[in-house]
């Protein structure tokens, strides 16, 4: 029981930490710092996954943890640094919505996810419940980053943090099968995206493959 409460507190702290770091992402205005924050995000995720692996004594989760650590906390940020350098993307993030409103929206989202999740009856064990609430907030915040940032790299970061939220939820779900496979699949997905950015020389935003320029070609513009 003692153990349980401890485990609960630790995982709770870690999950809360993730949400906090997501918030930090919201108000970053420099690319590099954003990448660093994300690396931190991934690190914390790795920790919490590892902790889950420990408490659920599910060794396969360690794989997920290592993936998170190695791939997301190290490889991807480094790669993105490279890309930023090579493509000469200028360093500050142009955001569609100002920092302030974004923060407020973030608050609202967290509140929403809390409201939704605390409806969950308690016999679905509290650990899961708290965890889910945090995971949902992380997911929503990641999405918020994606839609408020015009910059491709920061959008990728947003997507990855969203996916971190997923992994958090998955690992929080005790005895959930296929977690490893899923995390692997997602890592591949993200790799695709990063490579895509690199290949298509997408400098500023996902859609600098400029849609409006294509409309004449498609004959869709009136």
């Amino acid at each position: 029981m003692q153990m349980h409460s401890l485990s609960f507190d630790v995982s709770h702290t870690l999950a809360g930490g993730l949400v906090l770091i997501s918030f930090m992402m919201l108000y970053q205005d420099r690319l590099y710092s954003l990448l660093n924050v994300f690396a931190l995000h991934a690190l914390v995720l790795a920790l919490s996954v590892a902790w889950q692996a420990f408490v659920q004594d599910a060794p396969h989760l360690y794989i997920t943890a290592t993936i998170a650590l190695v791939f997301k906390a190290i490889i991807i940020p480094v790669a993105l640094h490279r890309i930023v350098k090579q493509l000469g993307i200028h360093r500050d993030i142009e955001s569609a919505v100002g920092i302030g409103p974004t923060m407020l929206a973030g608050m609202a989202l967290v509140a929403l996810s809390m409201v939704l999740m605390l409806r969950v009856t308690a016999e679905a064990d509290p650990l899961a419940r708290e965890d889910l609430a945090f995971a949902l907030s992380v997911v929503l915040l990641g999405l918020l980053v994606m839609v408020t940032r015009r910059n491709a790299v920061s959008q990728v970061v947003g997507f990855m943090s969203l996916e971190n939220g997923l992994v958090l939820a998955a690992t929080g779900a005790k005895g959930m099968p296929l977690v490893v496979e899923i995390s692997v699949a997602f890592s591949i997905l993200i790799a695709f995206i990063v490579i895509g950015i690199f290949l298509f020389r997408i400098r500023e935003r996902f859609d600098s493959v400029d849609v409006s320029a294509l409309d004449d070609y498609r004959g869709e513009r009136r």
């Binding site: 997911v139 099968p177 296929l178 699949a185 298509f200 493959v209 498609r218 004959g219």
Partner: protein, 483 residues
């Protein structure tokens, strides 16, 4: 599987994936195209054998029940006909040099992989596995959409990819939530994801969790169904990819996502405490229908036109399932089957037409019934069918949807009818300009493969007039199963 006991389920999975591997390494266009057809045929036949051979009992991974057998057979059939069409289509692309042999190899491999993914999604009894399968199918189609590597194609593929990935994320989150809801009741591990177990215990799941889960699943899989406003990837993906893929996208992939959605709808409906999934689906369906109907009016690209009409019809189908009840569900199923057949037939015709005319711009195509009677009249029949005019199949389903809805929810029916009329107006407007009037564009004769077109259209025609009794009882059973 050993040779003595032929296992159809294994067949519909192993044949595609095996032939995919084979096609990836085999050189030579003619051989691979033929092999592709043969493989699809084999898959189709083995799926047919599901009717005769006793079904496997629902295991941890595989489930064959009345619901998905319909989907599987439809899937493999359209896959087969499309492979025939694609053979002639791709040949032309090869001549015009839009595709190189290397890409062809890739194309065929991907085609079979996609079929594998979709079949897997259908037969999987495990919601996690289903998720994985849907994603496989999606990613392969992404790759095929971008296969022309033209600026527009890449852009379409990219859009598809990004929006798709977000959809993937949502679907996964929803799946996890369902597991979480199931775990206290069903127990940890594998069981928490086996649909047959889930449905058995769904009544005791935590409703709040289920609700959130369903929202995420609706959006996640809905993105792939192409429900507005999640549809953005769909028109471009249809327009820029090779036409066989457009046909498969509209005809099959949308169904896969729809199937997933249905599974979870049933799950949610089984839990009295949870929100009713109906209203949500009805709303999204109507929105998609009306929105797509308006979008049809300003389309200049013929493939994009029919892409939007797919959105419209998905809207109708989702609406029907949302309404629920034996009549509406029956109509929904029927509509889905009819739409798959008709829309893919239309895309076959459109593919050949755009190849002949060398353009997808509607303004560049005139008077088809004069220059290419067969193609032209096929297109006319197809469009008339998709617009819901009897004696073709879609009319029957629309009749059932509208009339049954009007008796229950008059206002909804008014909106529905409004949308249908709008869409009808747009489609027929384009049809008259494309099929009639002074011919425009190249008049060179088509070396088209008419067999798939004729097969689909005649099936639609027959279904519009006569549905065989066993099929009907089947559908009715499924409709009841859908609640």
């Amino acid at each position: 599987m050993n040779v003595l006991s032929f296992d159809p389920v294994a067949a519909v999975l192993i044949i595609p994936i095996g032939s995919a591997a084979l096609l990836a390494i085999l050189p030579g266009y003619r051989l691979t195209a033929r092999l592709n057809v043969v493989a699809s045929l084999a898959t189709f036949l083995s799926s047919l054998s599901l009717f005769v051979i006793a079904r496997p009992p629902p295991g941890p991974y595989v489930l064959v029940d009345d619901l998905n057998i319909v989907f599987i057979v439809l899937n493999t059939f359209v896959g087969f006909t499309t492979s025939i069409f694609s053979a002639s289509y791709i040949a032309h692309e090869l001549e015009t040099g839009r595709l190189t042999p290397v890409y062809l190899r890739f194309y065929h491999a991907m085609y079979q992989t996609m079929m594998f993914g979709m079949n897997l999604a259908f037969v999987s009894n495990n919601i996690g596995l289903m998720w994985v399968a849907v994603e496989i199918a999606t990613l392969t189609t992404v790759l095929m959409v971008g296969i022309y590597r033209s600026h527009a194609a890449l852009e379409a593929a990219w859009k598809y990819f990004i929006l798709g990935s977000v959809g993937i994320a949502f679907a996964l989150f929803g799946t996890i939530l369902v597991y979480m809801a199931a775990r206290p009741v069903v127990g940890e591990g594998q069981d928490g994801m086996i649909w047959t177990l889930l449905i058995r215990h769904a009544a005791n799941f935590d409703p709040a969790l289920l609700n959130v889960a369903f929202i995420f699943l609706l959006l996640g899989y809905g993105t792939k169904v192409g429900l507005a406003p999640l549809h953005a990837w769909l028109p471009d993906a249809h327009a820029e990819g090779p036409t066989p893929i457009s046909a498969v996208l509209s005809g099959l992939l949308l169904n896969v996502a729809l199937y997933a959605l249905l599974r979870f709808k049933i799950l949610l409906a089984a839990n009295p405490a949870a929100i009713a999934p109906g209203p949500l689906m009805v709303t999204m369906g109507l929105v998609s229908l009306v929105f797509a109907a308006f979008m049809l009016y300003r389309r200049r690209d013929i493939k994009r036109l029919f892409a939007y009409s797919s959105i419209e019809h998905m809207g109708i189908i989702v609406f029907a399932f949302g309404m629920g009840g034996p009549l509406a569900n029956f109509a929904g199923l029927l509509h889905m089957v009819m739409h798959s057949l008709t829309k893919s037939a239309i895309f076959y015709a459109v593919g050949h037409i755009s190849q002949i005319k060398g353009t997808q711009r509607i303004s560049g195509i005139r008077g088809l019934t004069v220059t290419h009677p067969a193609l032209g009249w096929c297109l006319v029949t197809g469009v008339v069918a998709i617009a819901g005019v009897p004696p073709l199949g879609i009319f029957m389903s629309e009749f059932l949807v509208v009339s049954s809805t009007f008796a229950r929810q008059p206002l909804l029916a008014i909106v529905l009818v409004f949308g249908l009329l709008l869409a009808f107006g747009a489609l027929t407007l384009r049809l008259t300009s494309v099929a009639f009037g002074e011919p425009r564009g190249s008049t060179k004769s088509a070396e088209a493969s008419y067999v798939p077109m004729f097969a689909h259209l005649s099936l639609v025609l027959i279904a519009g007039i006569y549905l065989p009794a066993p099929l009907v009882t089947w559908f009715q059973h499924v409709a009841r199963l859908l609640g």
